[in-house]
Subunit: 384 residues, 2 copies
Amino acid sequence: MNEPAPRVARSSPLPPPAAVGMRIEQVDTPALLLDLDAFEHNLMRLTESLHRTSVRLRPHAKSHKCPEIALRQIARGAVGVCCQKVSEAEAFVHGGVGDVMVANEVVGTQKLARLAELARQARISVCVDDAGNVAQLAHAAREASVKLDVLVEINVGANRCGVEPGEAVLALARLIAQSQGLRFAGVHAYHGAAQHLRTPQQRREAIAHAVTKVQATLGLLESAGLRPEIVTGAGTGTYLLETASGVYNEIQPGSYIFMDADYGRNLSDDGKPVREFEQSLFILATVMSHPVPARAVVDVGLKAHSVDSGMPLVVGVAGAVYTKASDEHGVIELAGPGALKLGQKVWLIPGHCDPTVNLYDWLVCYRGERVEAIWPISARGAFY
Amino acid sequence: MNEPAPRVARSSPLPPPAAVGMRIEQVDTPALLLDLDAFEHNLMRLTESLHRTSVRLRPHAKSHKCPEIALRQIARGAVGVCCQKVSEAEAFVHGGVGDVMVANEVVGTQKLARLAELARQARISVCVDDAGNVAQLAHAAREASVKLDVLVEINVGANRCGVEPGEAVLALARLIAQSQGLRFAGVHAYHGAAQHLRTPQQRREAIAHAVTKVQATLGLLESAGLRPEIVTGAGTGTYLLETASGVYNEIQPGSYIFMDADYGRNLSDDGKPVREFEQSLFILATVMSHPVPARAVVDVGLKAHSVDSGMPLVVGVAGAVYTKASDEHGVIELAGPGALKLGQKVWLIPGHCDPTVNLYDWLVCYRGERVEAIWPISARGAFY
């Protein structure tokens, strides 16, 4: 009783930079904007492209971290969502999603206990690539008196997580099937590295290679009486290939709802950029310094977008190039004088949508020129 | 009254990944760790290096965004803090800091009104590089019935914000001095680009160049009867040079309390890395996949550190190199088998401290092997 109380004040998010009904020009910056027309087009476009197939859609919610979006994806036919972390899964279950796949390995007793606890409220599935992890997962499931659906992750070319195709997959599937508290639910075969290969030929080859590996492994599993219910993978760059493969029965694209500058560099067979989905996600910036005619500085830097896939693109200002980001500044080089003025709002397309969204607490949703809704990015920072 | 209530649910941060008294091994990951011994050494080291000078220390709080740290800097002699955004300034004033310099331009009526409002509670100063902005600032100050201290930002080589040295500075200083509601407080001459020049000779030349520009401008201001009270600039990489210049009377280093991999690449005259400050900031990660002996995957990716200045460094694992970051994964290549095992905690030094800290809600402070305190990063995401 003599111990001092721990000084853990609650860190609280800032209020949103906008209010419903506001004109976009009035929105404070930096702000993350969602064009609802383009977003709804993208939702519909993906649903339509699966129309004559039996492939299920389970979008990856790591892109948006926003239950409001997940519920709209499910209303358009998605069977649930994927996410990467237990704390993300918690945010989506608490936000009303009843079926969440953690498309990733979960390691550590605290996280496993939370994952199992969550399975009391929703259908939860998770991936494994290690026998010891299967045992820990089974222990957590039994402790919580739940049954967890488990998928074996296969390395189909990304060389990140996942066991090699073939016997190693069968061995883990057997172990899962024999583990009290677990159910062997299928295989996870996502080829992340293929999503941003620039030419369609490169993407076709990468996914053909992945499909061959998965197919051989499925044969092995079926011979052993362990036919996987779920064969899942695919992202926005390749999902039509996995869908057409006849092997995958679930896909998990994430970025299609938003798009970004890097996806905008993927090419079609005609050599032009792929134009299947519309850019719906923008960063609204303000020119906060304009010291010389050739250079404007905006209030959006490294803390308001992620530069891992390059700099953001400037929308609708001829010759303007965002050339340099520092912590809170972005330098825009201009082709000539008068292109921008101090205080002017500037629209940017982020280089990479997922880690950029994770920097914001609020998504400012607009239609036409008005703010229609403000959605909390509830799983922002949910990396536990 | 027929309008639906806006659906603005409050976005709330996750609980901390640790509790006071816990052993570090028990801390959940990803976690941002602060070695309190190293941090206190760094605080003391900087204070000592200013001992026989009359130069004031006003650390840049954009690095830590944490009032608990700001108050400790002030307890060690700092006159207040710098920050970059109005919302950061709000967080620090609400956190108990009585003197905050926004070392940046503030543009937009909403932000200016908030800045002026804040001056009712604390001493607030701000930078300008545009005559129109001076007028808007004066208007906001009069509306709030406050007096704002204003500094003219000079471009001393970073080619970002700021007017050119000389007449342009004098013109703005005059305008400020004549504006009701404003007080001409000095000049802001920060050379950001010089901080990470690798050799001491490069840094000396860059700052000598900046000092010459500032000196000439000060002469001009003094002849006009506008002697600046504050001449401020300098970062962790060059602060000894500005301190020794005889021209700067305030310095604003930020990273010195933490350090990072990129500052670790700055060299001394002996060709070895500068070792003035200790690395106090670490990211704690967990090996969450280890599919082949040469590759381990940790749970710390693009959403848990910023890659703008390169990949994080792995601490204390011989031959281990963090080679690739995806959204939630970090690939570590290993020299040989057995270097890491599944579930093992891994310590990383972030590539760039400032944007990395901004990804976390909590700073887990430890001494020896125990968590001693958990500090909220209250200005995390405060980019308005």
